[in-house]
Amino acid sequence: MVHWTDKERSTVRAVWEKLDIDQIGPEALARVLIVYPWTERYFGGFGDMFTATAVLNNSKVAAQGKVVLKALDRAVKNMDNIKGTYAALSRMHYEKLNVDPDNFRLLADCITITVACKLKGDLSPQTQATWQKFLSVVVEAMGSQYS
């Protein structure tokens, strides 16, 4: 089981409270599709993603971005059982969506960069360390049901 100090818990909550899911979600997903274009393989029905501008203006990307960030809220609210929280979602990404779990790491990095743009200096080195620890637990949970 992952151990969280009180400071780490309050740090994750404090970062999360500063984020607007409807803004961060679309931007983070757009970044992952632009910075790591092979991730587009999972979004075949999304239409035009040929240029960065197209990705940024794509309403399906924006909608999916919000879905992903809303799901992250469950981890924030259940830090003591992130693995259990995402078991079904992990199984779905493996069995139904056939997503290579390395992509979860790529998306986590893009979420961090997006959060960095938003929080700027408020994302201190220690806050970044805690936030990345949180996301790495999420990434591991999302890969946990692959067998």
Binding site: E27, A30, R31, I34, V35, A52, V55, L56, D109, T112, I113, T114, A116, C117, K118, L119, K120, G121, L123, S124, P125, Q126, Q128, A129, Q132
Partner: protein
Amino acid sequence: MSPTAKDKDTVKAFWAKIAGKADDIGTDALSRMLVVYPQTKTYFSHWKDLSPGSAPVRKHGQTVMGGVADAVKKIDDVSAGLLSLSELHALTLRVDPANFKILSHNILVVLATMFPTDFTPEVHVSVDKFLAALSRALSEKYR
């Protein structure tokens, strides 16, 4: 995954905007690396103070960003341009190349915090590709 002509133009244009803050970027990136990835501290056991913004961290941040600045100047052939730095890392420093990715990530985070409006997704991908090419060039002589 090598930088295209467009990537190189993007990197050069972005660098022109940020070059004045190179020292701060280097200090902050290194500070974050040492805090977020504590295993990287193993390369700096000879420093008195590894805390964010300390004197040795500032000084080394300057050195690192000097190397990045040089790579931007030689962006059309980073491998050839960084030959001596490559030999230094391979034969003397022997930094595990996995750490280049770690430092690159922290440079990207710092660029995002310091230049949030300029660090668009397009700039992000071009800089990421450039830093990857830089890392490849530094690993050239390892074996």
